[in-house]
Symmetry: C2
């Protein structure tokens, strides 16, 4: 224990290890979120695109699952896609109105300012994920208690490969800025952290902890399909790409600066160099994609993982993954 | 000292700190290389594009500078761009024929196989830099003693932003492969390491040491112009881009998979979205670029640095930079 006893991220959120579950849409449901909270990590439900009914239901289920364990229950929070909240904030409002406030609410991908005060006025810690240095003052001014530095190696949405920052330099550069301008604000590394080496490295770079995506996506409690996880287990970190291909196939309208990293499977390879063609006439490709999703054919459906996928060799229980990462990091830091 | 006493990279090359100077073309000349070797690091002269006369002269000067210090002299080596050696290997041959063999020879950007045996047969350690997992077996089979994992956040040439790996996941994935397949082969992290936090993090991720580029590029002994270094000191890590723009402006013919990361200055911004136009009619832009180089106007000339540039706040002596990084890493690892 001693090694993380003084960790301020653990102290602030009552964690036994400085890990937060990334609020991954379509992966971080009630089961995974509750499992992470029970394992001593911060459990952030994947509020994602803001389906109010889904979010309220899954949050309630997670809350019930944790009701017998006050410490674990106090680690339950949720994350949202900010630009979707700007279109429809019902899901956020439902969580703000709960009798027992969430442990934290996280906003990513857009200006947090319009929602921040409603969160922080209720005493709920605000976590803001950023992709570039120029987003940092905005997040701190909005009242963020925690900044998440999202490196471009991570899975799912983030800045494009051309515009994005890598975790390795982004974390220390933010740490320097925070230590000069807002030393009370904490920092998590996201993007590429998939084992205890990554947690230890993130702490060396100046982070207070890590936000884990892909590694917790590939767990029994995740909403990801077993076949998708199997495809990820087989993949190397070379086998991903960041693009807009799957957003066109899935009919998601993200702001143009955000691309998504997924496995670079057959359907991605087929369209990545013919992207304009795909945008102009997406119907056939969308039909193939939908069939891939329905039949769990992950040469045609998307598998949302980052470059850390090369470090993922099993579909295991979230509790075991967190214990393993924690133990490996402690051994390295001792 | 104790912390790096058991470091096998230090032991093998007689170093006092697990740092190698990146053999940066047009930066790592005799002065910088000798300064790094004297400071306890591995000094790799930037043989770059393979100008035999330049390489032989600068190597001889560095050798003379170190002649009074056997330990430092034993840390003198050189690095080359592999695809250029395939066109003209005279510079390599001149170093192979030297009476006192180089401490190491490094090859990057291409298949090392045609040159590897000539190096290893002389007992010279071969260092191979790679950009993807699929290059790893080739480098190990060629007889590499050291693999350099080059993350896409680094400065200068490497894989494109879309194809490249980030240091944070690339290092541990290579470490895992080596531990199973070639445990005697050592591993350095390159790309994004610019301070003691980066060195400590690289070691946590499974590297034996680091290859330092940008941070040593921005030193008094570097061949980089003071005005270019000043532009780098002012920049944030957000201010770089990886592209082919400067290769067209400089008339360098790199294989298509390699792009270069430089400051995203005015001339880069002017052409990055009109790249086909630039390729078709580059004359005016080249004239502007050349004038930028001649007048030290770094809004028009290139400044070759990686995303770690946001961690570089001074133009200092290489010796002081290495001592500072070493001390910071030791303090973190203690």
């Amino acid at each position: 224990m001693a090694i993380f006893d003084d960790n301020r991220f653990c102290k602030r959120f009552g964690l036994t290890t400085p890990i937060a579950l990334a609020p991954m849409a379509f992966a971080s449901g009630s089961e995974l979120t509750a499992a992470c909270a029970r394992a001593g990590a911060l459990g952030l439900l994947g509020g994602g695109y803001g389906d109010a009914q889904w979010t309220a239901r899954e949050y309630s289920i997670a809350s019930q699952m944790l009701s017998a364990d006050n410490q674990a229950h106090a680690r339950l929070g949720c994350g949202f896609i900010t630009w979707r909240m700007a279109e429809n904030r019902e899901a956020l409002d439902l969580l703000l109105e709960r009798e027992q406030a969430p442990a934290a609410l996280m906003l990513s991908f857009g200006d947090p300012t319009p929602f921040a005060k409603d969160i922080t006025d209720r005493g709920i810690p605000l976590i803001c994920q950023i992709q570039s240095m120029d987003q940092l003052p905005q997040a701190v001014d909005a009242g963020a208690s925690v900044i998440v530095a999202q490196g471009v190696e991570g899975g799912g949405h983030g800045y494009s490969a051309n515009e994005g920052r890598s975790t390795f330099t982004f974390v220390p550069e933010i740490a320097d800025w925070l230590s000069q301008n807002a030393p009370e604000v904490m920092l998590l590394a996201a993007g590429g952290v998939a084992d205890g080496r990554g947690l230890a490295a993130a702490l060396m770079l100046g982070a207070d902890g890590v936000l884990l995506g892909s590694r917790l996506w590939a767990t029994r409690e995740s909403l990801a399909a077993d076949q998708a996880i199997e495809a990820a287990v087989q993949a190397s970190g070379d086998d991903t790409a960041r693009s807009l291909v799957f957003d066109v196939l899935r009919e998601k309208q993200w702001p143009p600066e955000y691309h998504a990293r997924c496995l670079r499977n057959a359907i991605h390879r087929a369209w990545e160099d013919r992207f304009d063609e795909l945008k102009q006439a997406p119907e056939d490709a969308r039909a193939a994609y939908r069939e891939g999703v329905e039949t769990h054919d992950y040469s045609r459906a998307h598998v949302t993982v980052g470059q850390g996928v090369g470090l993922i060799n099993s579909n295991a229980k979230a509790e075991d993954i967190i214990a393993e990462i924690d133990a490996e990091a402690r051994a390295l830091l001792r």
